[in-house]
Symmetry: C2
Subunit: 232 residues, 2 copies
Amino acid sequence: MTASAYAWQSVRAEALRRIRTREWPPGAMIPKEAEIAQELGCARATVNRALRDLAEAGYLDRRRKGGTRVTETPVRRAVFEIAIIRHEVEQSGASYGYTLLEDRIERLPDELAATLDQPRGTRWRRVIALHSAGKRPFCLEDRWLNPDLVPKERADFAASSANEWLVRNVPFTGGELSFQARKADTALASRLGCARGSAVFGVERITRTDDAAVTAVTLTYAPGYRLTTTLG
Amino acid sequence: MTASAYAWQSVRAEALRRIRTREWPPGAMIPKEAEIAQELGCARATVNRALRDLAEAGYLDRRRKGGTRVTETPVRRAVFEIAIIRHEVEQSGASYGYTLLEDRIERLPDELAATLDQPRGTRWRRVIALHSAGKRPFCLEDRWLNPDLVPKERADFAASSANEWLVRNVPFTGGELSFQARKADTALASRLGCARGSAVFGVERITRTDDAAVTAVTLTYAPGYRLTTTLG
């Protein structure tokens, strides 16, 4: 039996109606998939698809053994696309520029080594590069790379960025991402062409494969940057 | 035929292997679902589930008519949970505090009115509240509310926040979300208990139902805030 696109969306709409009208109240267990399928006259796989979608959207909480409940407080989720920086610039209509500033082997700071499960004193490859939009600095990429996985011989970042190379070449299986606001110090202000003390948007990201940490990067955007997504 | 949890994950792993080894190279069309199902000896719905997951993860690009291609450059997506502010504070182990600062009817700024599809001069409800962690300011909530949908009689925010009330009571169907860094001006610095000129993290969010805009909010977090998620 094939679940048509229409069918699961109808089931989703009906389930959402029951959640919103509190026919299925917050915290309550909802009927089994097979029961819902029988009641609505559709395949169980269709119900499964619809409930999975509602769980992803935060309306339902599915436990492997405990069945499916309506969440007490729906958690809303926002999805961001992690664009290649060049694409971000080009999509804004500006011409993209790239300058490699540093590429050398350096000792990992102890705290970062611990986060990356590397022994103290481990030396990684450090690459610093500036992405620009028009003639103006757009984003400073300050990156540590595992030299076993991304050696200079195999990955040269003189002409195009590590950001782009990694997305194309390293299978991505997990990691951590955080956003914060910070004040530009003298060095950062000089590289981003802004006043010292400006409020700048920072992204920190660690990428891991199944076996090892690949890279840790701090992206700092020039003042005025805004990261946007649509919801729902 | 029911797709077991194991089956679709195996199909996903096999498809991902083909993408990574470039057996299915970037930009190439992949075989039809029915062909893959026949080759692997599983249900077409199982293949569909696996490919959908890979598309959500950015490895495949599915077009309604044009079939499914391997993306030229995989787009990586990050998912953030939009927590209730009280939960964010409580999860950090601090005790949560809430103070309503303002609640009045006010004219929408023209630019915001345009964004919200409201006529110039429309008056909305404006609510300003401070969320604190321990005794320290944590987040300033500066919110506009559609008074037809969230009137004072029905929704009183003296004791608990509009943030929480909306998540519980207003069906959420869409909107926009953006993050940025900004400098605290005198008013903001005074409310957040930080130095003027501090770099603070701002979240702007517009929430809509199918029919109308419900609310536009700016959340500004005290210095040091970091929004974090795991990837993959």
